[in-house]
Symmetry: D2
Subunit: 303 residues, 4 copies
Amino acid sequence: MNLQAILDDIVATLRPELGRSGKVADYIPALARVPADQFGIALRTADGQEVASGDSATPFSIQSVSKLFSLTLGVRALDEKLWERIGREPSGNPFNSLVQLEREQGVPRNPFINAGAIAVADRLLSVGDGLDDLLAFLRSLTGETITVDEEVAASEAATGFRNVALANFMKSFGKIDNDIPAVLDVYFRQCAIRMDCRQLARAAAFLCRDGVHPLQRTEVLGVRQARRINALMLTCGTYDAAGEFAFRIGLPCKSGVGGAIVAVVPDELTVCVWSPALDATGNSVLGMRALELFVARTGMSVF
Amino acid sequence: MNLQAILDDIVATLRPELGRSGKVADYIPALARVPADQFGIALRTADGQEVASGDSATPFSIQSVSKLFSLTLGVRALDEKLWERIGREPSGNPFNSLVQLEREQGVPRNPFINAGAIAVADRLLSVGDGLDDLLAFLRSLTGETITVDEEVAASEAATGFRNVALANFMKSFGKIDNDIPAVLDVYFRQCAIRMDCRQLARAAAFLCRDGVHPLQRTEVLGVRQARRINALMLTCGTYDAAGEFAFRIGLPCKSGVGGAIVAVVPDELTVCVWSPALDATGNSVLGMRALELFVARTGMSVF
Amino acid sequence: MNLQAILDDIVATLRPELGRSGKVADYIPALARVPADQFGIALRTADGQEVASGDSATPFSIQSVSKLFSLTLGVRALDEKLWERIGREPSGNPFNSLVQLEREQGVPRNPFINAGAIAVADRLLSVGDGLDDLLAFLRSLTGETITVDEEVAASEAATGFRNVALANFMKSFGKIDNDIPAVLDVYFRQCAIRMDCRQLARAAAFLCRDGVHPLQRTEVLGVRQARRINALMLTCGTYDAAGEFAFRIGLPCKSGVGGAIVAVVPDELTVCVWSPALDATGNSVLGMRALELFVARTGMSVF
Amino acid sequence: MNLQAILDDIVATLRPELGRSGKVADYIPALARVPADQFGIALRTADGQEVASGDSATPFSIQSVSKLFSLTLGVRALDEKLWERIGREPSGNPFNSLVQLEREQGVPRNPFINAGAIAVADRLLSVGDGLDDLLAFLRSLTGETITVDEEVAASEAATGFRNVALANFMKSFGKIDNDIPAVLDVYFRQCAIRMDCRQLARAAAFLCRDGVHPLQRTEVLGVRQARRINALMLTCGTYDAAGEFAFRIGLPCKSGVGGAIVAVVPDELTVCVWSPALDATGNSVLGMRALELFVARTGMSVF
């Protein structure tokens, strides 16, 4: 299979549509000014081949894709104990997040909704250094320097009242152990990490290698743990469109409002697509289109 | 891989636990009197080999597993049009069913919750003969006679006030076209279909064969359609434990309160487990244990 | 106080606005074709004086105002026992009705929401003859013949899928004892009772007389019971606008989508206003305006 | 009517029950250590007579009763404009608070739920000095020095994560103008104000005098404004038991988890009861019993 040709073809197919539908996230200025007409794609195969096309080396704010890596760190450190504070079920729809948090006494439905990622950040602070550990982990996975966009982080913190509300609400149920400002500092800054498609495809590659580090022979996660992260991505990784992603794309995916989507084809490869314009569910319009094209042309699907 | 040995071993491992945890469905007498201490398992490989162990030839009420086959008929008849009346997202939790139905103006979240299956039954009546089509379909898939347990069907109808409520609620939003008694007759009787593990594993086998009929060379569904059914099973097939199933078992599954669970390993096989005692989510306790053992011993997983 | 002059003045004030705002209930044809440009008002003082103005002798569908009288019958027959199946708290908002019914295991929040009135109808069938008792009661209170508009009743029954849903939902929790068709027959027909403003003001007059029958010296309800009905009207009598009514009008009121509102000034009088055009909460636009004018000119308020 | 005898009799009737049911608020130590076996009652008539019995001079934390006075200040300063940010409908039940806040885009249902009182505090900061204005107002109404229990205030602030969540949630909808720490400082400290029964009965007396100051001839509120506050107390003043209070007591009431309940008999008197042990709805068990006895013996009721 000529993966380079497939990626180039996807880029060519989508180029005429760049910036024609969807809307760049605009809740903070630093995201709002990202030009919509960009598209990048990169993949890394299980045996280490890297292929890319389009704006694959343009860095962007990874936003919720960071939840994939903080969760991985949490599972490494706590394994089963992590799930005492966080559920594993899809959240239904946005409306429910708060209801469910109340019904379930401060236990978020899963680690990929905001409440869940804030709970993971709290756990990371209890067992280590929080954001520093996350940055070190990403540097190890990519072999490159990874940094936080401090302007984005400051904007997230200045406007993130709903996340402050979620954190306090969980704390009111005794489900957050650390001080809320410290927990939210991890959370807001992890969302502001900058990476490009190539780096994200590489960083996530342990998920298509049964947990083995992309650049080393070490184990990032055990086989079962890695599969379970893939399962969580498939059922909960794309906001309230997880059913739609499973139906149309059929791969474990994690998306972010910066426009990135990371997808895993177990035992084969990881792929990262990026295009900043989002649909109503907060997922990249062209990113989703690109993944549909990718699975149609490669026949890859977990189903 | 010696599949017979694996199934026998699972039966031997679980035998000491038969009837020791969980609770047989007791909302109607005909289900309540099913002895809890039964366990059966059967599989059919993509190339037609059938293997079974335990009480694999004991017929039981397939209950919600019937939703898998009525959905398949609906997709065959209507393809994309089916989804105008039914969603494809996980439902979050039981509490939400009615709220979501209200918020979403009578459109059920997915075809595997009761409201969704009632909506599918309405569609089947609009394009054909409803239950007769479903029974004919199951007879074709298995090559055997499949019948309804009329006592169970009558009990379902006599006590199914909540399902009557759901149907009327959808009708109040203009989302049910046929008369409610006719729609519910299909629904209550499909739940009361009797089959055994071997029959169910065979009937579902098109899902591990990219849509190809288990006994013929004909297409039951197209490749994409079959994959999408698998995707729906994984995200929505096991009541409110879909996340937990994906996490622990990692296969598309459809369960019923009769105690059956059908699971699909794409391109490999379908397996049906059955044991009547249920956990709090309505899934068979030993059925779920058996599938965990099965994936552990075979290494099979979509992730 | 010249009550005739006050009512005439209200009619004169509102006449220019007849039919200019709000919308006649249109969910059934028999209601939809009622001309919007009608307004009637009638009152009956505690000592038996009757005063009326405008279209006070035009009969209309009393709709939910009937809930006031069925509740009174229920309290007469069962007193405290009635409240084992029905709550006494405001319902919050329309969205909640089903959620709360689910959370509270089939016990409706109060007797004035549809679910509550259906539960009252079930109670009336358990202790007597249901609708016949209600019609006999209204005939006794008014000294006049009161009948059901059978066309309206039939339309309510033919389109009332949501009420069928509510009844079945309560039945699924074991909170309805009689057969649902019989219960709903009472409910749909009580909504279709036809009365005029003068009759309704007279029929409700026991509520301003500490429970004493308007035309006789007999007790309809005890003092405490009558006060409690007034309390329920104030907190729950006007759909989801009870707070707004209390705030702006300050009297116990019960409204119906036929356009009537009955209000009670304890120890003084009862007043019934009617105008078919409704606001978004289902209350008569000019009826509410008329009551505001009435309390402004008379200074009457329970506060 | 010998009011002193009535109050003494209520005290004598309830004395044997002191501390025998209900539970003192225990979410902060300063409240938890208040002895449960205390009961006080005091009233002030519209013409200025003051009568008291039991522990009527023992100061306590007024908690949510403070919402009555902050709302009064808000209405004085902003009149109709206040209601642009705050609703006037009962909240249904505790479960709904956050859901409704989300559904209604950050506008709390009424000024007596926590979210509503926080919104009022924000308004008071925008038009004046917040807590200083409130303390000055209470000093004017009582003619006595009123202070904050700083230990209670500090504990409220240290543990009030849910209130922090509510404030941030409203801020995320753009419905809070001032900085959240300043707003919550007003809110937490107003809850910690210490007063006794006699002072509260006097401070609320303008509500039984059509808005006229208890000690002066000045107007605290206009007639309509005062009646509307009474209406809000009746429909929303006692947490989720407003229907029950209206049904059993029939007077506008405002309660607090410190154990106080203030009730208004329009044109007659205000009464304050206090006993620290609470029922499951957060209302004083013996306070509610005392008000039932009071209305039974005096025949007073707005209905």
